[in-house]
């Protein structure tokens, strides 16, 4: 295991795209978050805006970059055939997948922490000028605030879990474009069905099982009651999706010819 971890770390570290994608994920998250902050208007207070959700809105775009990076960790090896070199060097395939998962999670946690911290800082600076201010009953964004700390911590975990879900999907599907299609389909499609189907109970259930809507419930700081699912339970749903994807990917990786 130690050797596999070391190898996977070297592999990721020596790929130029790793750094580029991590920077892109963080930059997109912060930039989009700041743009949404700046577009928010709450001149007289009483808006439904949740400062955490608004300032962390960039995660909707950042997660896509994270998913791409995670998919490429596996699919990049299949498209070049290097997976055979990897598996010849480490015949215990589950160990290889686990090593990839651990290294990837570590990198995403770091990038995610930077993204979330940057987004919240931008929100703290920008939002008060747009009506999300103490004058309207919103406390300044601060990690000393328990719900805000939960939203921040949860968002970082959310990104890591999206990465793991994508990694598992890529191990199962192998082809990069198809894998990212599956991941984005999973993220986007279930909420769209939920919002289209004209049945409130079914819609709520769909939002409860959708990896994105359930997972991001952790960002709610003003009214968790309006969320389809509780913050940690929602993250748990996403974790279940990620675990399921990794399990499926692992089983297929082990049973298939490389």
């Amino acid at each position: 295991m130690r050797e596999s971890l070391h190898a996977e770390w070297t592999k990721l570290r020596t790929l130029a795209s790793t750094t580029r994608l991590l920077i892109a994920a963080a930059a997109l998250t912060v930039a989009v978050g700041a743009a949404v902050d700046a577009a928010t208007r709450c001149p007289s207070g009483g808006c439904n805006d949740d400062p955490a959700k608004v300032s962390l809105a960039g995660i909707y775009l950042g997660q896509v970059v994270v998913a791409v990076m995670a998919v490429l960790v596996v699919s990049g090896e299949y498209s070049t055939g290097m997976i055979r070199v990897t598996l010849a060097a480490a015949p215990r395939r589950i160990t290889v997948l686990a090593a990839k998962a651990i290294v990837l999670t570590g990198l995403i946690l770091v990038a995610g922490a930077i993204s979330v911290a940057g987004s919240l800082l931008a929100g703290r600076l920008i939002l008060p000028d747009h009506g999300i201010s103490p004058a309207h009953g919103y406390p300044a964004i601060s990690l000393g605030d328990a719900p805000m700390l939960r939203a921040a911590f949860g968002s970082v975990l959310y990104l890591a879990l999206i990465a793991l879900l994508s990694l598992g999907a890529a191990a199962a599907v192998r082809e990069a474009a198809a894998a990212i299609g599956v991941v984005l389909g999973l993220l986007y499609l279930i909420p769209i069905i939920a919002f289209t189907v004209g049945a409130p109970t079914l819609s709520r259930h769909l939002q409860q099982i959708a990896p994105m809507t359930a997972g991001l419930a952790v960002q709610a700081t003003t009214g968790p009651s309006s969320e389809p699912i509780g913050p940690w339970a929602g993250l748990g749903v996403l974790a279940a999706w990620a675990a399921g994807a990794l399990l499926l990917g692992g089983l297929l990786l082990r049973s298939r010819d490389a």
Binding site: V68, L184, Y188, I193, S226
Partner: protein, 538 residues
């Protein structure tokens, strides 16, 4: 291009078989690309699977939706509300309180209005009278005069009225709307209203003092019977909080139902049928409708001849209580994802193993290769999704109706535009992905960019309330997602307050304008791709 072809032609020895003109060469290219497409078994399987899933998801939605506007139907949970149709064929609400008398072919009715107030239906006292009246805050509460062709739901009419916050107006046949005097009504600032009938022609006037009258509009109601009902009406559609989260509520008005009360005096009717007297009728409404109008509505005629009328409901196009046929197109997102993946791979797969060199060696005119790919991909996508959508609509609409969902009546042309447009839009997005794939030469990157540009704005506007409404609507104008407006079958009306969100089938751009934006992106991507494929080494 043509010159190059001719040069080649001339330089060939005459013994060669006749040279195909450029058109035919493009046909060869098309054939080659089609062969490439259909011989990748995974793609063909994906096309068929996505077609089946598109149909299945459409049917799932049609059988699981309960968009019934009422909750007290015979089957307990739902009810089978039939949307009334207006004279123009559109779905309408026709619910109001009507204090009326018969009117002959020639006549005039005049009234002065001194107040318009509202009470929330939740705040009623047990005796049935409105508890706390407040000045009208529902923008489209309406009170005034109406001449109606009959008592059927959806009957033709013409009316002048004072609204909650849109001033005096003349409205007719549900969709017609013309502004009169601005400003709210009060005892200090009363409004005089007048409707004059001359045969089929009804003219509306308003006045601030009862002396100087201004014509707001004149409208012909063809075939208006010689004796019709005319009189005072009051209605209030309830408060809708503009939110982009209420996508799934059946009726945007059910939660904040209100009753409006208006005070009328100086009621004057000329040309009335002899021996007529004022009668109060609650038009429409009831437990099997979007407006469960109860005992709160009614009227009181005072000794001085003035009236206080209380009503609830709306006389307007109905944009909230039905379901558009495009709700069945949701499954198309599956096809969209599949075709975007295939579209991106159609190009990027050639780069991975160097097949592109064989392709470009076989047809050195690189721009045409791209065009051939676009035609094949777009054609396959369009044909496949059109078939899938046709099947979905054929089975889905009866299924929707049978599970109690009122389906908006739309013209054949509109329905055809929505169905063909949705299939074409999927093809446009697939071609967009092809272009992006050709630019990026990276399959996963192309799929991500295309899907995110197409689906994410829709999702953030339709369901996930994180963007400010203005920003979300802006995204639906400037991103490729603008194309989804081709699915809109019911227009948005400025005189009806509702949640006009993509999830409810409303888009900020007109159908063809949105479609044009999406096409623009595809053309832009293809153009850039054509430029790059010619400049870059293969």
């Amino acid at each position: 291009m043509t010159t190059a072809t001719n040069t080649t032609t001339d330089s060939r020895p005459p013994a060669d078989p006749p040279i195909a003109p450029g058109r035919d060469r493009f046909a060869y290219l098309l054939r080659a690309e089609w062969t490439k497409f259909r011989t990748v078994r995974g793609w063909i399987v994906a096309v068929f699977v996505s077609m089946v899933l598109t149909v299945l998801l459409g049917l799932f939605i049609s059988s699981h939706s309960h968009i019934a506007p009422c909750t007290t139907g015979p089957n307990g949970g739902g009810c089978s509300y039939i949307l009334p149709n207006g004279p123009g064929g559109e779905a309408v609400t026709d619910t109001y309180y009507f204090v009326h008398r018969a009117l002959t072919a020639e006549g005039t009715i005049t009234v002065r209005m001194t107040s318009l107030s509202e009470a929330s239906e939740n705040g009623q006292n047990p005796q049935g009278g409105p508890a706390q009246k407040q000045p009208a805050s529902v923008p489209w509460s309406k009170a005034g005069l109406i001449i109606t062709a009959g008592s059927d739901q959806g009957a033709a009419y013409a009316a002048v009225m004072v609204t909650g916050s849109h001033g005096a107006r003349m409205q007719w046949n549900y969709t017609g709307d013309a502004p009169g005097l601005a400003g709210d009504v009060s005892a200090a600032s009363p409004r005089w209203l007048r409707l004059t009938r001359a045969g089929d022609l009804v003219t509306g006037y308003d006045s601030a003092d009862g002396a100087n009258w201004t014509e707001i509009g004149a409208v012909t109601l063809p075939g208006l019977a010689s004796s019709v009902q005319a009189g005072l009406f009051v209605t209030s559609p309830g408060s809708t909080t503009p939110t982009n989260q209420g996508a799934t509520s059946a009726s945007g008005t059910s939660s904040g139902a209100t009753d409006a009360t208006a005070d009328f005096d100086h009621v004057d009717l000329t040309g009335g049928a002899p021996g007529g007297s004022w009668t109060g009728t609650s038009v429409g409404g009831g437990s099997e409708s979007p407006y469960p109008t109860g005992s709160a509505v009614g009227y009181r005629q005072n000794a001085d001849g003035s009236f206080a009328v209380t009503g609830s409901g709306d006389i307007a196009p109905d944009v909230t209580d039905g379901v558009g046929v495009s709700v069945l197109f949701t499954g198309l997102f599956i096809a969209l994802i599949a075709m975007v993946v295939i579209g991106a791979l159609f190009m990027t797969a050639e780069y991975r193993r160097g097949l592109i060199r064989a392709t470009l060696a076989a047809s050195p005119r690189r721009g045409w290769v791209l065009a051939a790919k676009a035609v094949v991909l777009g054609g396959v996508t369009f044909a496949a999704e059109l078939a899938a959508l046709a099947a979905t609509v054929l089975i889905g609409v009866p299924l929707l109706r049978s599970s109690g969902n009122p389906v908006y009546p739309v013209t054949v042309l509109t329905e055809a535009r929505a169905i063909v447009g949705a299939a074409a839009l999927t093809a446009v997005f697939a071609v967009f992905a092809l272009g992006v794939g050709s630019i990026l030469r990276h399959g996963a990157g192309a799929v991500t960019a295309a899907l995110t540009a197409v689906v994410l704005p829709y999702l953030l506007t339709a369901g996930i309330a994180v963007l400010p409404t203005g920003a979300a609507q802006w995204l639906m104008r400037v991103t490729p997602a603008a194309g989804f407006s081709i699915d809109q079958v019911v227009p948005a009306y400025p005189q009806v307050a509702a949640a006009y969100t993509p999830a409810n089938g409303f888009f900020p751009l007109a159908p063809w304008a949105g479609f044009a934006v999406a096409c623009g992106y595809a053309v832009l991507a293809l153009g850039l791709a054509a430029y790059l494929i010619r400049r870059r080494d293969a």
